[in-house]
Structures are given as structure tokens and as C-alpha cells.
Amino acid sequence: MLSRIAQSLYWVGRYVERAEDTARILDVHIHHLLEDASVEEDVACRSLLGVMGITDVPDPVDINRVTERLAFDPSSGTSIRGALVAARDNARGAQESLSSELWECLNSTYNSLPSQVDRAMRVGPHAFFRFVKERSAMILGLTEATLSRDDGWRFVVLGRSLERVDMTTRLLMACFGEPCGPSEWVTTLRSCGAHEAFLRTYRRPANASSVAEFLLLDRLFPRSAFHALGVAEECLAALEPRAGRAGLEGKARNILGRARTQLEFRTVGELIAELPRHLDQLQAACAEAGEAVALRFFNHTKAIEWSLEEAVGHR
């Protein structure tokens, strides 16, 4: 597969996941902010922006500015709109490796963004977040339903899984950074669409350790860091099937495998005791793995310049 195509597919996966996760996080947090009068708007907004890696925010920060920045900004890769535009741009260059249904879905999502943003301005952002979640679900569904399980599909899933680990980690970092009550834990779980799954599994109210356990270690929930790391690893293993007797060839796979085992063989108590450090490590592993994937699979050769061989005349 051409490295350009592989790169495009990987970023389709990443951007769609980013748009969806951002929509989920914003949806839950904005409603939480509106419902709970005890929350300081400025602090909550800053922590929300901090989760997304945005620190250069001018005073004062209110929820409108946050939505503007994280949802509607068409030029930023961290906003929902920007991510969906980028996903569609990547898909456009790799149409022959996608199904036309998937491409049409991405394209029509892109085409309806302006009207959806207008609508959100009138009736509030919830409608926009719902639109994004629905379209993401559709894109995910079409990816699973219409793509062959070949390397192209693996790059989409790899991108999606890495982004998922990244987003879940960011979310947890924000929550554990400050004192939280039970309602914040519910918010956190709902941001990942994990509240119901959590309740069915634990059958008791959420607290710090059970939420950390569920979102980091759960073997069955697809948005847990552990599960997403496993999926990413499987993709990498299939992309580089030459397994020797010892060691691994893919650097990205080493990084992810190490991160996964760091989680897998620790008790919740150990994790909670040093959670910020573990989350930092996980975040670093995601970034490193992303770079390793780029280096291994998307290493474009530069545009080739040709020179003429010197000619020998007749004498």
C-alpha cells in the first residue's frame, strides 16, 4: 500500500474518533455546567480546554468561548468541525481505498457542517453534538460493514484506537487533577459513553478508583485504554506479520505493548496511588507510538530531482 494512502486512512480514523470524543465530552460538560450552579464556570472551562491541550486562552473564559473553540472552529484540528473537515480531506485523497458509501458519508457530513453549525447557534449546541455522534456512528458502522479487513481497514482502526486511548487519558487527567464529587465521576463516565456499562458492571455508585479501573483497565469496554491499546496492537501485528523467534520488529508495537502491560499487571490501588504519573506515561506512549507509526509507515520519499548524465561527444 502506498504510504500516502496509509497515512490518509490512519488520519481518517483519528479525526473521526477525535470529533466524536470531543462531542461527547463537550455535550456532557456543558450540560453539567448548566445544571450544577456550584461549579465555577471559569475553572471548569479552563480544565476542559486543558484536557484538549489548549492552554493559551485569553480571559475571561466562558462556555460559549469553549464551544466556539472546541466545536465550531473550522481551522483547528482539535475542534469537532476542524477534525471532520480534516477527516474528509484525508478521505478525498484515498477514495479508491475506501468504499464509496463511506466516502459519501464523510462527504455529506462535511457538506452539512455549515448548516448544522448555524442551527446550533439558534437552538443550542446539543443538537450539533448529537449530529456529530450520529454521523460518527454511521462512519464507524460503514467502516466495519463495507471495508475488507485489509491493511487499509487496519490503518483506519489503528488511528481510531490510538486516538481513543489518547482522549480517554486526557479526560482522566482532567478529572483527577482536581477534587471531584460523585457527580463529576458520573460526568466523566458519561463523557466516554460508559456510565451505563459501568453501572451494569459494578452495580454501585462511581468513585475515583472504580472509575479509573473501568476506564483504564476494563477488558470488555471498547473505550477503556486497555481495550483500545489491545486493538491498536493487533492492527500493528497484522500490518507487520513477520514475527521472529524473539523480539518485535515494529517500534510502535513495542511502545504500545509496554504501555498495556504497565496497566494490565498493576492493581487499582497501585494505579490510583500514582495516577498522574501513569496517565502521563500513557499519554507519552500514545504520542511516541503515533510518531513511530508515521516513521515506519508514512515515510514519504522527498520529491525526486533528476539530473542529466553528462554526455560524451564524438571526437
Binding site: I304, E305, S307, E309, E310, V312, G313, H314, R315
Partner: protein, 280 residues
């Protein structure tokens, strides 16, 4: 009398930095013609690479190869053993009106048209008119060769591989390539179909059997006067045992011995050696 000559033609390109890929065409395999026979011909490339062979539009044998291992030196060695024959009978009964017949104008259209290296000019047309008046196309061809030898001095370094006939004429000097281009321009101005012929010239007419001589890639012209009549304007000698034909075309561009493009480098140097040995 015929000669048997072994030719060893070695071209080495050197590069300052590694070249990652290069695509090349070598025109270095002598032709089988009515006056020469090729007994053996091998083109070798280092770094070793498989090559393909085809015959181009002008009947030249072309070896095509590309090198994709990083290298700082590319060597193409062509070795051939060729039997050549004495100058052929030059008699010709073709007149100017035969050359101007619609059939011949059509058949030789490509070899009558001016080229970038052998362009037409006002001066050339005047000279051509005078030469035509001297006699038959055969005589006019020889006259053209003599006129060129009168106007150009053989001197290396005065012209480059890219010089055209008019530029060489202005300089008043050149190497065999320029002599040929000027001759071709004249012949074509007269309406005589003419082609550029490249190959090798054994430098020593009295060469011993077995002795190796350093030679050069050489070029001469062929004029169509009912048959292809070879003319060597550079030294005015007959084309015979010492000449080995490799390629033919409209001008130098069609027959350059090694053409290529590469990625990487840049080029640092070029070395060409031609060794000619008379075997019999």
C-alpha cells in the same frame, strides 16, 4: 582486405554523493551491416544490473538499464569484436532529378530536414548552390566534405557536446562531431539525404596485429546517392577497415553513446576510454 578489431569502450561516471537511482540507455553495440560483421558484443554495467535491449527507430541497438542500489560510480563497459571491410565501390549514377523525385523526398523526408544541431542558414544555402553546380550528387558530397575541412580547424576544447554546426562555423574550429554536423547541414541544403553515423576509428592505418591503441568515439556522415555513401569530413579519408559503425541518426542527439538521468549525486567526474586492438 578486411580487419578484425576488438573495441573496449569504458565510460565511468563519478558522483560526489550517493546516487539512489539512475535510468540509462547505452548505444554501444556495433551494427551488422553490408560492410561490417559483429562477432561478439557485450555491454556490462557496474553496479551489476539486468538490462533490456531494443532496436530504435534508426536501427541502432540500445541497451536499457536502471540502477537502484546506491552507488557513487557507474561504469558501462562495452566490448565488441568486429570484422570490417575495405572502402566500398563509390560509383553512383543518381542525378539531382532523382533525388528530387516525390518518392525519394517522401522516403528521406526525415533525413532532409534541418535539425537543431545541423540547422539551415543563408550562408549554407549559398555554398550548397555552388557545390551543386560542380557536378553529380556524389561529387557534390565530396565537395561538401572538402569545404568543411577548409573552414574548420580540428581542435579539441573549442566546442562542447552541445555546439551546433552554425556555432562551430563561427568559431572556425571543432571536433569530428562539429565537422559532421556542418557536412550534414550542407548535404541537406543541397537536397541530398544525409545521416549522422557514429562509431569508432582505429587511429593507426599501419597497425600491427595484436597491438592495442587508444582511440576515441568517432563520427562521420553518410550521404544517399543511390546507396549510402560514407564520408569522413574530419580527416578526409575513405571510410574503410578502420571504421566501425555503431549508430545512425539525424544528428548527435539520436546516437549519443550513453544517455541517462539520475537522482542523487551531484556528478563529480566523467572518464571515457576507448581501446582498439587489431586482431587480424
Amino acid at each position: 582486405m578486411s580487419w578484425r578489431i576488438r573495441i573496449e569502450h569504458r565510460t565511468t561516471h563519478r558522483y560526489k554523493r550517493e546516487v539512489r537511482s539512475s535510468y540509462n540507455e547505452a548505444r554501444m553495440t556495433p551494427l551488422d551491416t553490408d560492410r561490417q560483421r559483429v562477432l561478439e558484443a557485450v555491454v556490462g554495467v557496474s553496479p551489476p544490473t539486468p538490462s533490456a535491449r531494443y532496436t530504435d527507430y534508426w536501427g541502432t541497438i540500445v541497451d536499457v538499464f536502471d540502477v537502484h542500489v546506491p552507488h557513487t560510480e557507474l561504469t558501462v563497459s562495452a566490448m565488441a569484436v568486429v570484422e570490417t571491410s575495405a572502402p566500398q565501390n563509390r560509383a553512383s549514377d543518381v542525378g539531382w532529378e532523382d533525388l528530387a523525385s516525390p518518392e525519394n523526398l517522401d522516403r528521406f523526408a526525415e533525413l532532409l530536414a534541418p535539425t537543431g544541431r545541423a540547422p539551415m542558414s543563408h550562408e549554407m544555402t549559398e555554398v550548397a548552390k555552388n557545390l551543386r553546380a560542380e557536378g553529380s550528387p556524389l561529387e557534390a558530397s565530396e565537395g561538401a566534405s572538402e569545404w568543411v575541412r577548409g573552414r574548420l580547424r580540428y581542435e579539441r576544447g573549442t566546442t562542447s557536446v552541445l555546439t551546433s554546426a552554425t556555432e562551430a562555423l563561427e568559431i572556425g574550429a571543432g571536433v569530428c562531431q562539429d565537422f559532421v554536423h556542418l557536412t550534414l547541414a550542407l548535404l541537406r541544403s543541397m537536397g541530398i539525404p544525409a545521416r549522422y553515423t557514429s562509431g569508432y576509428l582505429h587511429p593507426t592505418p599501419s597497425a600491427d596485429v595484436g597491438g592495442s591503441h587508444t582511440g576515441q568515439s568517432h563520427a562521420w556522415a553518410e550521404a544517399w546517392v543511390g546507396h549510402w555513401f560514407p564520408i569522413d569530413p574530419t580527416n578526409g579519408s575513405d571510410v574503410g577497415e578502420r571504421h566501425v559503425v555503431v549508430a545512425r541518426g539525424r544528428d548527435y542527439t539520436d546516437v549519443s553513446p550513453l544517455k541517462g538521468i539520475f537522482h542523487g549525486g551531484p556528478a563529480e567526474g566523467l572518464e571515457v576510454t576507448v581501446d582498439l586492438t587489431r586482431l587480424a
